[in-house]
Symmetry: C2
Subunit: 444 residues, 2 copies
């Protein structure tokens, strides 16, 4: 069979790059668990009617068919999930009787979309989602909590500067209602186009599609230009002179989120209120957020989420939720491709145990066993070649130490010392492959 | 939308059961890394011609089709992988120029088969594979090594007794050749039916299908009855009086594997030479192994693998490999269903920080932040209900400690002591959810 060629949209990582992804996933998991979130995994398939929204499927879904299906058997009726929210909502409904609410979960899995691949958009991509779901009710303070968890989680990663841009659907809806706009839903969808269209075109669309007067459209755009790193947006909105109860509620909620997430000094995460963030999806009902990565604005957001008062419902019980998703593939693959992030070595081994001759391979195995008992990852040389060749074997894999009989050599410095495999430990920074950040790379 | 019902063959774990699977995967990964194996993940899809064997697809494969495919666009030509060997072989060929050989990798991912679900057989199931692949050549000692790695890895898990049953294709082929059997491949496939058919039927099939004489068939069965926990099989085979060079090689290899894997005393893994193990698959060329779990013989093997002299080939270069696969879902899901394994609690939180009233939620948040800085997973009570209700919230989730102001209470014993959240640590056994083994359960 000929040499295979890559499949567009299905990126695969070499071992050193996989170190980056794996360490990122481990770090995210650690933060989520410190905050008491349980991990779950859902099956990768959902019935097609679950993947539909309002009866219609607007996503590029992959449908499954059994290759050996009988005549006329057709599709399985199952599709690969395109995000982790739909399967999570289904999981909550299906297993509600066995879950304790509020239910706090994180989920890090691939999802699939059959769309045209481009940088940051893949046909298979990994997401990390964290959500809190209540039964019948879910106090607002969980909005602040779950957003702060993601701020904590992303601040712990070696990423470029990240900006959490918050808004609140109640704020927008209340403002539009207070203005007297006739069609709030269309207005929100239209404002959401501000990142693609110039302001005057959006204003024209507000008049044409959402039934706004030119004056109303102007004030909608005024609202959308407010963007501050603190709670001063409250006064800025008040100054626009619109009165509405829902607006008041939205202002208070957004202020609490911005304050709660922005209070601490962070390494590279900043927080803003950005009143043009709407998120096109219908089901958000309060807090909304989009996350942007400095130097990678071309990817659009690398994460987002918000509050949905009806994440799931079985007709009798409604499950409100709040959550946020981070695009692991969407952010990491461009950073890896650009050389901004790399793995310090492609193998876990800290030590290569040299073999003098094949008859003494058992001695080398015994040294390796002793090292492993002390928690030191190592491997035994595959051949009893000349020592120079064995050292080059280690060098090519980035393995920092070679063990010869009763001595260990740091092949980077050349320093060689007597050592006992039962007690020897490498410096902590050598123990595991790590993520290397190359800030010299031009990642424009 | 109505309450969803489970999809047959796509098992999903509740959070406490997921603790079991997650800890098992973490433990396997730890052992593989201690032995210097790098982790990779492959995309879940392969072109259909890669999933075919000798031009024919004999597995129940799920094919993908874009739901929004245009008229006449048909299938994508991609199928979900049905194991991790096919994608790994393709990964090696595709990325060979960027890999160092021998290449040592482990891979823990789901695979899919559209077959009829039954206990231990699912449509989506997770496997853990560990392999070593060489370019052009791969010394035999890697057979011993990779099998010992899996013995180490499974011995570290809290599973029922496991038996590694080894054989060697060279031994079987050499013996059959030495006997003068005309059709070795058919003979091996026929002997492989010994776990389904009685010995006299297999003998009749050897005569009918493999062209054996009744005397040859009798001696094939004699070979297949040899099963010992040590290297005494060598003399037992010699006593059958067949002479062949390949047989000698196979005997020496099998003796080295059994000795290498069986030398150490293990907690619950035992090693045997079982000369009826053949593994039906064609590509094995030396060492073969199947792994069985005590009390769960009805699942057939829970793992297996072996040596393949041509794991992959692009026409110019051939990549021999040796590896072994463990069925994570196949073994764990029955054990979880039977109550043999369970998670100690469904949440990572060790501590619930109580909230006196909503105005002081910030104080509770500060305590939680201090605990997390010390690596203690915790969550803040979702409501400022009466303390008794907050304690019940913790109890229902198996959270062992509740924090009240300046004191921490072990709600299992009732003991309450003054504590500083900046320095307090739980006993090590409470820090993370763990796997509980219930050996009282009847798992017949």
């Amino acid at each position: 069979m000929p040499k295979p060629t890559p499949l567009s949209g299905f990126p695969e990582l070499l071992p050193a790059a996989r170190v980056v992804e794996r360490e990122v996933i481990a770090s995210l998991s650690r933060t989520f668990e410190l905050h008491g979130f349980a991990n779950i995994e859902t099956r990768v398939v959902e019935p097609l009617d679950r993947l539909a929204k309002g009866g219609e499927i607007d996503k590029e879904i992959y449908v499954l068919r059994r290759l050996q299906a009988g005549e006329g058997e057709g599709d399985s009726g199952l599709g690969l999930h395109f995000d982790l929210t739909v399967p999570f909502a289904r999981y909550v409904l299906e297993h509600a009787g066995h879950l304790e609410f509020p239910f706090r979960r994180f989920q890090i899995q691939p999802a699939w979309r059959g769309e045209r691949p481009q940088e940051g958009r893949y046909r298979q991509f990994t997401q990390a989602d964290v959500d809190i779901v209540g039964r019948d009710e879910l106090p607002f303070h969980h909005d602040v909590e779950v957003m702060r968890v993601m701020v904590d989680a992303l601040d712990a990663l070696p990423l470029p500067a990240l900006s959490f841009q918050f808004n609140n659907r109640k704020l927008i809806q209340g403002f539009y209602r207070g203005l007297g706009l006739p069609d709030l839903t269309t207005a929100i969808r239209t404002i959401d186009k501000l990142d693609k269209l110039p302001a005057d075109e959006v204003a024209a669309l507000l008049v044409r599609d959402a039934g706004a007067t030119p004056e109303q459209a102007r004030r909608c755009l005024e609202l959308a230009t407010i963007r501050v790193p603190d709670t001063t947006f409250v006064d800025a909105v008040r100054d626009l002179g619109v009165e509405d109860e829902l607006l008041d509620e939205g202002l208070a909620e957004l202020a609490a989120v911005v304050e709660g997430c922005g209070a601490e000094e962070r390494r590279h995460v900043t927080v803003e209120a950005n009143l043009r963030i709407a998120r096109g999806l219908d089901y958000y009902t309060g807090t909304v957020v989009e996350i942007f990565m400095a130097g990678y604005e071309r990817l659009k957001s690398v994460g987002g989420g918000g509050r949905y008062d009806a994440l799931a419902s079985d007709g009798r019980t409604t499950y409100p939720g709040v959550g946020v998703s981070f695009g692991v593939s969407r952010s990491l693959i461009p950073l890896i491709s650009d050389g901004v992030l790399s793995g310090s070595r492609p193998v876990p081994s800290v030590v290569l145990v040299a073999v003098t001759d094949e008859d003494s391979r058992g001695d080398a195995d015994a040294i390796a066993t002793a090292l492993r008992a002390g928690g030191v990852p190592c491997e035994v040389s595959p051949s009893a070649a000349k020592f120079g060749k064995q050292i080059r074997y280690a060098e090519r894999r980035g393995i920092p130490y070679v063990w010869f009989g009763a001595e260990v050599k740091d092949i980077r410095s050349g320093a060689q010392v007597a050592a006992d495999p039962a007690t020897w430990q490498p410096p902590a920074e050598d123990l595991r492959p790590a993520i290397i950040t190359n800030t010299e790379e031009n990642h424009q």
